[in-house]
């Protein structure tokens, strides 16, 4: 029997309170590929989709399965959250400790590691991301790009098996963006990435899903069409993925 997927959503429907139209309707999804990209217009329910996966929102109907098992109680939810890390759209919402080291060690401490062990994990994680020397920096004084990478460190310190990234390249400069791409390509984890940044998705995901009308579906791989465009490096050979 094949191993069940790490995460599966079955017939999920969800409507926000005071809103008669459900934002997700009979949504089915299971993680098969390691690097999944998710696209969709603003307000179509992409973030809601992530919040359902990590149990921040409870669906009105449908099931959330973790390693093939229905997530029914707090203990299972805790296990799930240990393995599935969620990088928020805004890093400011994710960093709350005064110093970087305290913020990165927060997760490991909650998982029951001793202070010494948590500190060691935090330092290693920072080193892996090329953030050595950031330990004592004050989180709210970091630059936008640094905050994003530290927020990623806080999640990786929990040693997850899967990452959910919500529009990770928003407001990143080209250098930090490239750094993020290199980091994500180097991680052997399941990754689901919500983004409007096509080039970023092209480099980080192998399959593309679209959220639309409350459902999620695979995008056709080659959808050939003609269009006009203009760019500075137009005379150099380049790839086009839309």
């Amino acid at each position: 029997m094949p191993k069940p997927p790490i995460i599966e959503l079955r017939n999920i429907s969800y409507a926000y309170p005071h809103n008669s139209m459900p934002i997700l309707q009979n949504l089915n999804f299971s993680v098969s590929d390691k690097h999944v990209g998710v696209i969709g217009s603003n307000g179509c329910g992409k973030t809601t989709f992530f919040q359902i996966i990590v149990g921040l929102l409870t669906p009105d109907t449908g099931q959330l399965l973790f390693h093939g098992e229905n997530v029914a109680n707090k203990k299972q939810l805790r296990e799930l959250r240990k393995e599935v890390g969620f990088l928020f759209q805004s890093a400011d919402d994710q960093l709350f400790s005064p110093t970087v080291i305290e913020d990165v060690a927060f997760g490991p401490l909650n998982l029951g590691y001793s202070s010494a062990a948590a500190e060691k994990i935090a330092l290693e994680t920072l080193m892996d991301l090329g953030l050595s020397g950031f330990e004592e920096r004050i989180t709210h004084k970091l630059s936008g790009g640094e905050k994003k990478l530290v927020a990623l460190a806080t999640i990786l310190a929990m040693k997850p098996k899967m990452l959910l990234l919500d529009e990770p390249t928003n407001n990143l400069d080209p250098r930090t963006r490239k750094r993020l791409i290199d980091i994500l390509q180097g991680l052997d984890l399941y990754q689901i990435i919500i983004s409007h940044d096509w080039d970023f998705l092209d480099q980080t995901s192998s399959i593309l899903y679209q959220v639309e009308h409350g459902h999620i579906h695979k995008c056709e791989e080659d959808h050939i069409h003609v269009h006009r465009h203009i760019h500075k490096a137009g005379d150099h050979p380049h790839r086009h993925i839309h």
Binding site: R78, R81, F96, P98, L109, N110, H140
Partner: protein, 249 residues
């Protein structure tokens, strides 16, 4: 605000276990607060200064705080000598200043400063997370510790949101004046600050829950109660006892 400037240091008081400091501070502050005796207030003020010098913190920092506190006692000096009654100390024109009023204002000023300085020296020298953790291990109700930690955390968030909105208003040339437009704008600013802070706080809380937070904040630097802490606590409690006994002399 989040820098916890007073908590940075390596002095004798910084390295004490927050549990010992909390007990010492509670006893000392209570003894200083309830006294009616000038001698006791003066001694506790002197002790608080000694405690402060043990922290090796820069004096300017604490002077700034004291300025804020004494802006309140300043109003007592304005009102108490005029309104308290009792025997006349001196008369300034038609106004008579009462001896008891001046005495009371002085006593309150002395006590207030002693309490603020000793709290900075004793509690300010630990990080809030460590204080919260210590309160929990002293068996204070968990919800109270939680409220303490999060009030501290979110006061900052609310302030930031407010600053952001005020800046946005200023950039569109908003200048406060005595007008309905100004009142309405401030109404909107306060209302919006609450809504935005609430949303932001919800997201921060979600981020914490996702990283395994279950109501206990575990500080990275764990404190260990040592024999030095017992000595410190005994000294502090003996001094407090002396303060109390001084009342009956």
């Amino acid at each position: 605000m989040m820098d916890e400037r007073f908590a940075q240091g390596n002095s004798l008081l910084h390295t004490r276990d927050p549990k010992a400091k909390i007990i010492a501070a509670t006893a000392f502050v209570t003894a200083s607060a309830i006294t009616n005796s000038f001698t006791v207030a003066a001694v506790s003020f002197a002790l608080s200064i000694v405690l402060f010098f043990l922290t090796k913190l820069p004096v300017q920092l604490v002077l700034k705080r004291l300025l804020a506190v004494n802006s309140f006692t300043f109003f007592l000096w304005l009102t108490l000598p005029l309104t308290y009654g009792g025997s006349e100390f001196t008369a300034v024109g038609p106004l008579s200043l009462s001896m008891e009023g001046i005495r009371l204002a002085a006593l309150i000023t002395l006590k207030t400063n002693a309490i603020v300085i000793s709290i900075i020296a004793l509690l300010g020298t630990s990080r809030i997370a460590n204080i919260g953790h210590a309160l929990e291990s002293l068996h204070l109700p968990q919800n109270l510790c939680f409220i303490l930690l999060f009030s501290y955390r979110y006061v900052f968030v609310i302030y930031q949101e407010y600053r952001r909105l005020v800046r946005a208003a200023q950039l569109r040339c908003f200048v406060p004046a005595t007008s309905i437009h100004t009142y309405r704008t401030f109404g909107y600013l306060f209302g919006m600050t609450l809504v935005k802070s609430w949303n932001r706080a919800t997201r921060v809380h979600q981020a914490m829950v996702l990283r395994g937070f279950d109501g206990h904040l575990i500080p990275l630097s764990q404190d260990r109660y040592t024999s030095d802490d017992t000595i410190f606590l005994s000294v502090m409690l003996s001094l407090t006892l002396l303060l109390i006994l001084l009342n009956f002399l």
